[in-house]
Structure formats: structure tokens, C-alpha cells
């Protein structure tokens, strides 16, 4: 299971865990705000070699219908994918132009 964003709810005192364990894969915030550049995939060029998928430290790239796709909620814009892509199908674009 991939950790996913849960619905925000007001936590009452009874919901606070009694010990230091809690549900696995429980996300409450996204990482998209960290990004100053975003990777953009040219799907006409992508040949699905999956290099970007294997080397992404955040695991935000998945292969959908034979093409790489990015989960922009959690991409931090490090640019490793754009550098690893041999056919230059990924380009970094500024978030604010």
C-alpha cells in the first residue's frame, strides 16, 4: 500500500494514541510547496525505460499506460529524473514564471 493523504478531522483527546504506535502510511500534508521547479514529461518522447521511476528518491513517478507520470503533490522538484532521462523527455520548468 502506498501511504496516502487522510481526511482531516478534529482530534479529540480520546483519539490521541495511548502508546507510541499509530496507523502506518498516514499522511496529512503534501510536499508540493517545497518545489521551485517542476519536472514536465513529454509523453510523445517517453519510451518507458523506467529510469526516472527507479531513481526518484520520493517515488512520485509511476508508469501509467506505458508512460511516466508524476504525482505533483509529493514531487519536491529535485531534478534527478530530468538528469537521468537519456532521451531528454523530462524538462524542468519554473513553478512561477
Amino acid at each position: 500500500m502506498r501511504p496516502y493523504i487522510r481526511e482531516k478531522k478534529d482530534i479529540t483527546f480520546d483519539d490521541v494514541p495511548e502508546n507510541t504506535s499509530f496507523e502506518a502510511g498516514y499522511l496529512t500534508t503534501v510536499n508540493s510547496g517545497w518545489r521551485s521547479d517542476r519536472p514536465v514529461i513529454d509523453t510523445t518522447k517517453c519510451v518507458s525505460c523506467e529510469q526516472c521511476y527507479l531513481y526518484c528518491p520520493d517515488g512520485v513517478i509511476s508508469i501509467i499506460d506505458g508512460k511516466a507520470a508524476i504525482d505533483y503533490d509529493f514531487c519536491k522538484g529535485c531534478g534527478i529524473c530530468a538528469k537521468i532521462c537519456k532521451i531528454k523527455a523530462i524538462e524542468m520548468e519554473a513553478e512561477r514564471k
Binding site: M1, R2, P3, I5, F22, E23, A24, G25, Y26, L27, T28, T29, V30, N31, W34, R35, V47, S48, C49, E50, Q51, Y53, L54, Y55, C56, P57, D58, G59, S62, I63, F74, K76, G77, C78, G79, I80, A82, K83, I84
Partner: protein, 297 residues
């Protein structure tokens, strides 16, 4: 175009949404290893970057069972996890530890040594970013010669760290461990294949993976993979395995790339003089002499 390595590991993500710096090598190592080992893995993490970025309550970024251990006790907690699950009748599981270089070579070394001595059925992965990065770049036992950290600053007299990197791989191998290996996140295929191999071996497994830290090394976030490749290509790190009592070199660069080019790319080595670089090159050549003599090539 199908990628065989990508097909051989889980498509699921088990380490996701974490708060590691952009381009973090350690998180890449943890992510790849968990994808190899699958959902029935219990991971143990001591104090260090990966536990700091993975468990920010209520943001919990591991979807497998995962626990924070004491700093010194990664390997002993792995022993307990493995024994406990076995006692409860579980069969299909793996106990894996992810400790940083400080948590392995300095603080956690006695627990690791004990676990290897007992030959507990665990995998211990050391993601080596060559300093205590989580607390703000302090020197560890695995910081290489000449590196600038906050506790080994570069001045006009002393140029950063004065001691060489501890040889953790051979220390683990000296216990006559069933399987030990070195890897680099720059050669992720090699790393994935080593984790796959380790998961099939009974007994203690130790994998030492170089995981560059853009923040601590002073490189751009997108340079992580390139610099992790270059450290192998210039001969300052090597990809090897220890199994059945013998060492085996997995990757021999035809010709080493320039050591000073590798060093000068990084902020932590910017201050090095030509003399320092000569010392580093000489120690590399000495190491490779040893490798060529004692390792199966």
C-alpha cells in the same frame, strides 16, 4: 520497453510523502530496498535522517510495519523483532534495519557486531552519507579524509577531517558474516540485486550503500545520482561482495576518472590543496592494490 529490474520489484511505494531534502540519497536507498523486500517487511530505524523524515506524527511515511529504535540498538532491536515474529508463528517476513553511517560505524557498532556474532536472520542496511547529517553535518567514523564538517572545519592549518574513513564493509566481513556487500545509489541495479540476494540468504546480512546528501556534501539536489556514480568511477568507493569467506569485486572501472574532479564538485572538499588530493589519490591506489591482491575480480 520493459525494464526487467523494475519488473522484478514491487510496484507499490512503501516509503512515500517523507520530508527528506530534495534529492536525498538515503531516501532513495530506503525506498528501493523496501520495494525489493515487499509488504511483509518490518523495518527498524534508529535516530538519523530516515527516522526523522519518516515519522513526523501524524505524518507517518512508512506503510509497512516500522519502528524507531534506540540509536545504539538497531541490530539488537532487529534481533528482537525477528525472534518475536518467529515465536508468534509468522513465517513470511523480513526484518530489515536502516541505519546511517553514525548509527552503524560509531554508535551502533557493538549491537551490529553482536547480531552478526549470533547470526540472527536479519538484513542490516547502512546508508552512508558520510557524516551525521540529521543533526547538522558532524563528523562520523565514516567521514572521509579531508571532508569539511561542523566538527572538522577547514582552516589554514587543518584541512577538514584528518582521519580516513572506517572500513565498515571489511569489519562486518571479518565477523565471517554470511553475506556482506557494498553498493552505491548511483548504481541502483547493483544495489537492488544485492538486496534481492540478501533476502534469500539465511543469517545476518550487511549492505553498505553510499547515499550522497546534497545538503551535507554541498552539491545540487539533482547531482545525487551522478556523484554516487562518480565516487565509484574514480575509485574512492568500490562495489564488492563478501560471501562464503571470500571477497568478490563486482565492478571494475576500466580507467579511474579524475579524483580531483570528483572532489572539487563538492562544497565539503572545496578547500583541499593539491597535496591533500595527492594523499587521497595515494590512499585510493593503495586500497586498489589491496583489492587486486585479495578480491576475486
Amino acid at each position: 520497453m520493459a525494464n526487467k529490474v523494475a519488473e522484478s520489484i514491487s510496484r507499490e511505494e512503501f516509503f512515500y510523502g517523507h520530508k527528506a531534502c530534495a534529492g536525498c540519497g538515503g531516501s532513495l536507498a530506503v525506498r528501493a530496498a523496501l520495494k525489493v523486500l515487499g509488504p511483509n517487511v518490518v523495518s527498524v530505524l534508529p535516530a538519523g535522517c530516515m527516522s526523522a523524515v519518516g515519522f513526523n506524527f501524524p505524518q507517518l511515511c512508512f506503510s509497512n510495519n516500522s519502528i524507531i529504535s534506540t540509536f545504539a540498538g538497531t541490530a539488537s532491536m532487529l534481533t528482537g523483532v525477528e525472534a518475536g515474529l518467529r515465536a508468534r508463528g509468522f513465517k513470511d517476513f523480513t526484518a530489515v534495519g536502516f541505519a546511517g553511517d553514525g548509527g552503524t560505524a560509531d554508535i551502533g557498532i557493538q549491537a551490529l557486531s553482536g547480531a552478526i556474532d549470533r547470526n540472527d536472520n536479519i538484513i542490516y542496511i547502512c546508508y552512508d552519507n558520510e557524516a551525521y547529517m540529521n543533526t547538522g553535518i558532524q563528523k562520523s567514523g565514516l567521514t572521509p579524509f579531508g571532508a569539511k564538517t561542523t566538527t572538522t572545519p577547514a582552516g589554514s592549518n587543518i584541512h577538514g577531517n584528518i582521519r580516513p574513513k572506517k572500513n565498515m564493509f571489511e569489519i562486518a566481513a571479518a565477523h565471517d558474516i554470511p553475506y556482506a556487500a557494498t553498493a552505491s545509489v548511483g548504481y541502483i541495479y547493483d544495489f537492488i540485486q544485492k538486496v534481492q540476494k540478501a533476502s534469500k540468504i539465511h543469517g545476518t546480512k550487511y549492505i553498505h550503500v553510499i547515499a550522497p546528501c546534497p545538503t551535507g556534501w554541498g552539491v545540487a539536489p539533482d547531482a545525487t545520482v551522478d556523484i554516487a556514480k562518480e565516487v565509484v568511477d574514480c575509485g574512492l568507493w568500490y562495489l564488492a561482495e563478501y560471501e562464503n569467506g571470500s571477497f568478490k569485486l563486482n565492478h571494475k572501472p576500466k580507467e579511474f576518472t579524475d579524483v580531483s574532479a570528483y572532489l572539487k564538485k563538492q562544497g565539503r572538499f572545496k578547500h583541499l590543496t593539491d597535496e591533500d588530493i595527492q594523499i587521497i589519490t595515494a590512499s585510493r591506489d593503495k586500497k586498489w592494490e589491496f583489492i587486486e591482491k585479495n578480491f576475486e575480480l
